[in-house]
């Protein structure tokens, strides 16, 4: 499959997904939405395997890496600050919606930091090990 055909098929899959998910939401049918997303993912994997053109190369990975670092550097501090604001402004009302939201934000920030640390440790070990 050529890159041009791939773009067309990808557009069709996105269209199918948007249609099905919007119908599922209007019908309040979670199963339909989940199945549509599953089918969409499988179809994308199948067509990606059949594309002869290069879809991802070192420049794309480089850009993705830099973008991910920027996204991480912005997301984690914002979540951490928001969680502190929500939690400290509702200390007298610990079961409140905003207090719980702050708690969730802090866990998400911590989870992000944990994933980053594991990935960083893995790559440091892989590329920066003293072992010959």
């Amino acid at each position: 499959m050529s890159y041009k055909n791939f773009k067309l098929v990808r557009l069709l899959i996105v269209f199918f997904l948007a249609m099905t998910v919007s119908i599922a939401i209007s019908m309040e049918n979670v199963l339909l939405a989940v199945s549509a997303i599953g089918i969409g993912m499988i179809l994308m994997l199948l067509i990606k395997k059949n594309v002869k053109a290069v879809l991802v190369d070192e420049m794309v990975r480089n850009i993705a890496g830099k973008s991910a670092l920027i996204a991480y550097s912005i997301t984690v501090p914002v979540l951490a600050v928001l969680s502190l604001v929500f939690m400290f402004s509702n200390l007298d009302n610990e079961g409140s919606y905003f207090y719980n939201l702050g708690l969730i934000f802090s866990y998400i920030a911590l989870f992000n930091m944990a994933v980053y640390s594991v990935a960083y440790y893995y790559y440091r070990k892989k590329y920066g090990s003293d072992e010959e």
């Binding site: 053109a53 290069v54 879809l55 190369d57 070192e58 420049m59 794309v60 480089n62």
Partner: protein, 66 residues
């Protein structure tokens, strides 16, 4: 500030091939070749070697570091 330059565009013209064809030969996208030619992206050592090998030139004949 130090900068990488290259003469891929000239070598490509001499060989009479398009960016798309060069991209196919070295397994990257056309956008990457375009970015390298415009000195907007510095390729990895591996890609630089692949490009040099394709043109049958030494790496320093294709890429220059100022």
């Amino acid at each position: 500030m130090a900068q990488m330059k290259n003469n891929i565009k000239v070598l490509r013209a001499e060989k009479g091939i398009t960016q798309e064809e060069l991209a196919d030969k070295v397994n990257v996208t056309r956008q990457t070749i375009l970015a390298i030619e415009k000195n907007k992206y510095v390729p990895s050592l591996e890609l630089a070697y692949k490009i040099s090998l394709f043109f049958k030139k030494k790496i320093e004949e294709v890429f220059q570091y100022f």
